[in-house]
Assembly symmetry: D2
């Protein structure tokens, strides 16, 4: 019998870009046999399902340099889980989307990391070399912005999801797969 691992993806999304990226992350995770990824679009979240999950991936747009207010509300509300250490030793990872190629996505990612680490979770980043940073580089490379600590996606501010490159979606699928594989390797508590 195969053990099933549950990956919860909890995200805020204002205009739909982050939602589209979340779906690509889920697709990547679901592609790993024995892993089931479930999406929770804030403020709709199933706390019991999070408590049962083997991994939680946190996602938020970067607004004014950090996570959006709906994500911050979720962060604050999660303090109940911290008091009971309910998420201790789960796998964690994060993603963020902004209009700028750099902007302050690192600051958002630090917020997501610190949240996970306060919960006693174990953090998995992105494992792709940076694309698009040489004379032959192209925005169509995987990891086109050169993220390390999680998944960073650039989305044009005056477009819908057509303003997100296919390379970014492919990076998101890879990222979902990486977190799913790490969750399997980390395994159930013995």
């Amino acid at each position: 019998m195969t053990t099933t691992f549950n990956v919860a993806i909890v995200f805020a999304s204002g205009y739909g870009h982050t939602k589209a990226v979340a779906e690509a992350v889920a697709e990547g995770a679901n592609g790993v046999e024995g892993v089931t990824a479930t999406l929770y679009h804030l403020p709709d979240v199933d706390w019991d399902a999070l408590d049962q999950a083997d991994a939680i991936i946190f996602g938020s747009p970067t607004y004014m340099g950090n996570v959006s207010a709906p994500f911050a509300q979720f962060k604050d509300d999660s303090s109940k889980r911290w008091f009971s250490q309910a998420w201790k030793n789960k796998i964690a990872a994060g993603f963020t989307v902004s209009g700028s190629w750099s902007g302050d996505k690192n600051i958002t990612m630090t917020t997501l990391q610190i949240l996970a680490l306060q919960h006693g979770m174990v953090w998995v980043g992105l494992d792709l070399m940076p694309g698009n940073n040489s004379s032959a580089g192209s925005p169509d490379d995987l990891n086109n912005v050169g993220a390390t600590s999680g998944l960073f996606v650039q989305a044009n501010v005056d477009q819908g999801n057509e303003g997100i490159r296919e390379s970014s979606f492919a990076t998101a699928r890879h990222f979902g797969q990486r977190v799913a594989l790490a969750t399997q390797r980390w395994g159930k508590e013995g």
Copy 2:
């Protein structure tokens, strides 16, 4: 005729600790001749008054490693001011309160800094050497936690404002004075 400088202090406070610190910051700023400090307890904020202010001091408790949701909502809402660059070149500063002596107050402060800098504001930190870090040190020293980038205050989680040391309030008054003096020196746009 003396020019008057307006310092707005915009803060979130869940249990009253951050409010008490905000009041001490205001007291310090108001002690500088020609400076008037006004407190805005989120979510109650007067956006027109902020637009007219010469300086804005941002304050939030540190909850789960970052600013609280009410502060994050204010941050997001301030994007309208960013579009119009309404706060460009104002003086900015920040403070945060948490139960732990360190905890993740630095991460909250980074959030406040990045918000201010995205608005094109000019950031003033704390100018006190660290106290309480030698064999003769004491929690009753000014700057008892050794903050640099803004005002950090430790408040016991199971107490009201009696759980905040007088040295912390004195540090807060000094910080308010420092920001007020910096606002005067920076002056009105020529």
Copy 3:
């Protein structure tokens, strides 16, 4: 036959405080059966041993708000390992020591995290609730500064290792044990 896991502890230390903490981390890790911890005091480091290690714990004092220059040199030199992805999927963790109770230890820890994540490593933080933050709290509590993302230690600047509390050493031993157990759970690839 028991599998042996190797935990490398690579640290910079200017005055000996960080070295003393590193030794306590090693003691905690060595206390886990099947785990061997080895200390590398920068600039003396055995790169081949790091390549063979199952986990690397990074340590540095906080000087002027970040890692010290010898640690930064090690960070830069590790780029060769990044090019070959030699440390990908190893377990990583970090610790820092400063005179202040807060100071900028979070910033140092962010530096250590980002380094590990660029290498594709998996980050383990501290899993202790904060001590010393209530009316009944005491600096003699475990995790007396309230760290989350790694191990933070306060050391008086005018003293040697007698200026580090036994509670801090006990926290360091716990932290070493936690990283060792996480390394075992993560296991050997494949």
Copy 4:
């Protein structure tokens, strides 16, 4: 008689990209009447000149997620100035260069900010709206990466300075001008 303001630009540069950006920053600052910018290429630095400067702009490439070792050495060495508070109330700003469009430039910039704020300096960021983040955007826009807290420049890793866009140099000149104007407005201590 016009008061002269001195802006010191202290930078590390491994392959020449950061040096080229530093020169553009200097050009922008020198373009402001009454301002003289001077470049210090680490490890060559004139500490007395820094003590006399009205503003110090810090620059470093981003290597493995943070400032390079030569910059970290300068940071550590500056502790003597911190003890004497020699740089208190000077204007400060920062820039960094990396191969990636995002990468971890934010983390490097946080390091530069924290250094400046520990010295009691006053931090000036970039005041340009983000370019290159809409359907009509282009890497040839000013602020093509969307930085807020300082100057971020992308430079191709397999090229010399021809791998840096003219828009990035123009952004650097603007940034130098902004810091120079802020230094004038802040003025000499009364």
